[in-house]
């Protein structure tokens, strides 16, 4: 069964550095998402992406964050100048059509030191 893949599985970075989290959504899916989960807290929506542009973003998704779909397969989340509070599990999700569920990758655990 096709799945969403995310790399790396764990990223350790010094505060202030930039990180890029990578995702390969399921190949025929059209809608893409990033969520994050801080340890012990709820999963939170960050951003949705459709037709090569951001369709919605949360208040968490400030100027520090950006997303890109540089080619037909990858979907990336960039965090500039990371802060300690960016430490979390970041999940990528994709879905095919409006009435279909979102399917999730295994996540990238980001640890900021």
């Amino acid at each position: 069964e096709p799945e969403v893949t995310q790399t790396p599985s764990h990223q350790v970075t010094q505060m202030g550095q930039e990180v890029i989290l990578r995702c390969v959504p399921i190949s025929n899916h059209l809608y893409f998402y990033w969520y994050r989960q801080i340890l012990g807290q709820k999963v939170e929506f960050l951003v949705s992406f459709y037709n090569n542009e951001i369709s919605e973003k949360s208040e968490i998704f400030d100027d520090q964050f950006s997303v890109e779909r540089p080619d037909g397969s990858n979907f990336t989340l960039k965090i500039r100048s990371t802060k300690l509070e960016d430490s979390a599990m970041y999940f990528c999700a994709s879905r095919w059509q409006v009435n279909q569920p979102q399917h999730f990758g295994d996540g990238t655990r980001l640890s900021i030191l």
């Binding site: 709820k42 999963v43 929506f45 369709s55």
Partner: protein, 112 residues
Amino acid sequence: EDKVVQSPLSLVVHEGDTVTLNCSYEVTNFRSLLWYKQEKKAPTFLFMLTSSGIEKKSGRLSSILDKKELFSILNITATQTGDSAIYLCAVQYAGNNRKLIWGLGTSLAVNP
């Protein structure tokens, strides 16, 4: 403020028991409610419920939505140790984006 509340937060049962997990919500612009199972990593999709009163079933798991009382339940019958996981409830907003708002999850442990 929109919210999704799950109960109980954790549950320990013995194999063969039946469990009921609860999810209530207060969400403007509701479209559907989804259940996911999270073991070690990715939340895996279980059910999507859009209409009230229609039970969805998959093996020993079933779920139903009550849009009048704003809640859903997930039932697992004849539990097995492999059912041990965190069960997440999420509400999907209407509109093309269909972003999800999540509950905290119910951590289920099934002991042999």
